[in-house]
């Protein structure tokens, strides 16, 4: 009986803790918009976007096997992340090589000697080692789910270089949940359906949705994302041509021609398609 008041006090404290938890929990959930945000978001707030950009760059550093300019090595601000420009890699190869020689000649003996202890050779990850960039992209997406490039870049490397189609699709779906209006993610998703899964119907659906999203967001802008529109329409045209819908393909190419930096090439394609249509319907 001597411990009676102590037990009573303990019971009281337990009850108080429980009651407090029921009061605090809904408020804690409200810290995040959806009540399901990560600890990182709650702890870092908007500052996490800085880290997200840093980790996205880190992936690029890894892609170049550590050979990467610091802010002191280049007077110009850092240009587009090389990972993001993978699609134009062959065209931009020479420029990239020139840009990569950022070290130049050593200015003094200290620098000359120091170069024996650092990476001085420009190489890219290959033979499956591209996987090493993935943790940083994943971390970048965790920190800033609105950084669209993270999803499209990761999906490109997963699908095209590592042949991990399922993971690429899942990651893009994750990106789409965080950015439901992103035509870039829809375009990447469509490419996976079309090029990797050979599912033309699903690819058409997501590309058409992407086109709708582009039309909802971009035309009113001062500098609309013409490249994205060209990619969407050209790929839709290719899909429709392969599916035998030549009229639709021509319509998409006409759309692409309006925003393309090289419309003469598209004009040539339109001309060829029109000839095919004429061959199929000689009476018309």
């Amino acid at each position: 009986m001597k411990n009676g008041p102590a037990y009573l006090l303990l019971m009281l404290l337990v009850t108080a803790c429980f009651s407090l938890a029921t009061i605090v929990q809904p408020r804690a959930d409200r810290w995040s918009q959806r009540g399901q945000d990560s600890v990182l978001k709650v702890l870092l707030g908007d500052g996490r976007r800085l880290f997200a950009n840093h980790f996205f760059t880190k992936a690029d550093i890894y892609f170049h096997s550590g050979y990467y300019p610091s802010i002191f090595d280049t007077a110009q601000p850092q240009r587009e992340n090389h990972l993001a420009s993978h699609e134009e890699e062959h065209d931009a190869h020479d420029d990239h090589e020139k840009e990569a020689d950022f070290l130049g000649r050593p200015k003094d003996w200290v620098e000359r000697f120091g170069r024996h202890f650092m990476i001085t050779k420009h190489t890219h990850l290959e033979n499956g080692n591209e996987r090493e960039i993935l943790p940083w992209l994943k971390l970048s997406a965790e920190l800033d789910p609105q950084l669209i490039d993270t999803y499209t870049v990761a999906a490109y490397w997963l699908a095209n270089r590592m042949h991990r189609i399922r993971e690429a699709e899942d990651f893009l779906r994750e990106g789409l949940r965080a950015n439901p209006n992103s035509y870039e993610i829809l375009f990447s998703l469509g490419r996976i359906y079309y090029e990797n899964e050979h599912d033309a119907a699903r690819a058409r659906n997501v590309w058409e949705l992407g086109l709708r999203r582009w039309n909802e967001q971009e035309p009113g802008k001062k500098e609309p994302d013409k490249l994205a529109l060209e990619e969407l329409t050209v790929n839709l045209a290719r899909l429709e041509e392969n599916e035998g819908n030549l009229d639709k393909a021509i319509a998409y190419l006409e759309m692409a021609k309006k925003v393309s930096p090289a419309p003469q090439n598209l004009e040539q394609q339109i001309h060829e398609l029109k000839q095919k249509v004429a061959a199929h319907h000689p009476a018309a």
Binding site: Y62, S65, G66, S70, F72, D73, K107, D108, V110, E111, F113, G114, H116, F117, M118, I119, G128, R131, E132, L134, P135, W136, K138, L158, R164, E167, F171
Partner: protein, 259 residues
Amino acid sequence: MNTVLALSGVVVKELYRRKDFYVLLVLTALITLLLGSVQFFHDDKIIRYLKEIALLLIWISGLVIAVGTTARQIPAERENRTIFPLLAKPVTRAQVVIGKFAGCWFASGLALIVFYVFFGIVVGSRENHWPFGNYLQAFWLQWSMLAIVIGLVLLGSIVFAAPSSNATICLVCIIGILLLGKHLNTIALQQPKPLGTIVYTLYFLIPHLEWYDVRELVEFDQPLIPWAYCGLASLYAAAYTSMLLFATWFMFRRKALNV
């Protein structure tokens, strides 16, 4: 020589009697193993992020152990007045300085060996690849760098009043050199004349600790650094350490020992 070894033995014993090393080792191991257990995109072959984080933790731990151990050596002897019976024996102040340096350096080396063995086991078990030469070079260069750091902190313990201020100032300088040291020449060339000359002079005066940071070479599986360059870097570290120890002895020689 025996005196120096006896003095250094005391410092090494201090390392394994204190909790600092164990805390840092457990923290490094815990963080590394925790991150190692994470799988990205169901791929268990991804390893470089783990190497980067583990090596970063080893570098931080190495610096904290070296600076923390060294900063309190001479001030603690003075504060506890054990410096008087120590110097009453046939022990010169030069031997005290060298003994303390050797003790701190050996202690840091022992700690680094434990850290690198852990690193090798964790990475090797994931990579199935054991580049011992690279690990040996990374260990040796880091240990050489710590010799300069210990020399600097030992000098700081004579100059500054308290171990805390000494440790803080030295850490700021060391981290500053590691981050900016190699870029000072580029910065100097962009400055107008008198300032540019001052910065360039500073660039040649500071010990280039960044040479010894070869973590990237280990992370990205780069070939071995030619051993001749490792030897030259070790000589450079030895020269700076000797100069710092000489300066420490020179100031300690005339220092009043009363607190």
